[in-house]
Subunit: 172 residues, 2 copies
């Protein structure tokens, strides 16, 4: 393996939800490049166990397609009530399970950490995140949905938090 190969990594970001699950795959080399992004959606009227299984299967397929070196998941926002916390916990578990089923290291970041890292402002709005994701990945236009741009933002946040040189020196 050459040094150049070692200094590349693929990071996948996930923005978990039980109806929509955003994902974004970013390759870090000399610059950051978007490999793919999208949203796993499941109809809300499908029974919950089947919905969770579809989410998991789709996410698992994306992970096996791109073989990310690391997966970063957006930590659940501080849910306002017990009912939404239950739903958020379910979505987070599915994302974590899809990642660890592939033996991929998983990292978690709070929404505030992600916004701080990507826009330099912890209270940034969705449009600001989308715009900064577009700039940092050199995209012609911002991702269509905020779910996928949020997922790309998690990946970017993780890449910034754990510089590739650090990863390299840890392995050596």
């Amino acid at each position: 393996m050459t040094v150049q190969e070692t200094l590349r990594r693929i990071v996948m970001g996930i923005d978990p939800g039980t109806v929509k699950m955003g994902y974004g795959v970013v390759e870090e080399g000399e610059t950051l490049t978007m490999v793919d992004c999208g949203v796993v959606t499941v109809r809300a009227d499908i029974p919950l166990p089947i919905r969770l299984y579809h989410m998991y299967s789709h996410l698992f397929t994306v992970i096996t397609q791109y073989h990310p070196d690391e997966i970063a998941i957006e930590q659940p926002f501080m849910a306002k009530n017990v009912r939404s916390a239950l739903a958020v916990g379910r979505a987070e578990a599915i994302a974590m399970l899809a990642a660890s089923s592939n033996n991929t290291p998983v990292y978690s970041y709070t929404p505030r950490q992600i916004k701080m890292m990507v826009t330099s402002y912890g209270g940034a709005g969705k449009e600001q995140v989308q715009e900064m994701v577009k700039l940092q990945l050199g995209l012609a236009k911002a991702p269509r949905t905020s779910d996928s741009s949020d997922a790309l933002a998690v990946a970017i946040c993780h890449i910034c938090q754990t510089p590739i040189e650090y990863q390299f020196s840890r392995k050596s």
Copy 2:
């Protein structure tokens, strides 16, 4: 297939938790028989994604071992706060996913429904549930842990809620 074969079914009950996950397998024929019961435990200091993966894998193995016709899961108790609701949501998702990964129909029951069905009293304590599970399954002694007796109670509750004759008539 003979009528006698059709009138047998195996039901697995699950009492979900992120550190301990109780399971109980009951066969319904002319009487109720306990096939197996146990508790999947994972050390609480293991990182959450790996813990969830171990829980899922263990549960998946039990399901493929006994091939239950139906799986009944205890619905999360009404968590007191957002933090515990997150944990309960994660555990429930893992149990549901293990069930639906095996294409097994999943049913949910509230703790109150289970206690009502097994002990005829919705506010029954753990000891009462253990004692009634022992009696209904004709066991020499009650299951050692309340996690596994709770899981057996979910299976018994499901069996009582959906009489086998009804299942049979639905299929015909």
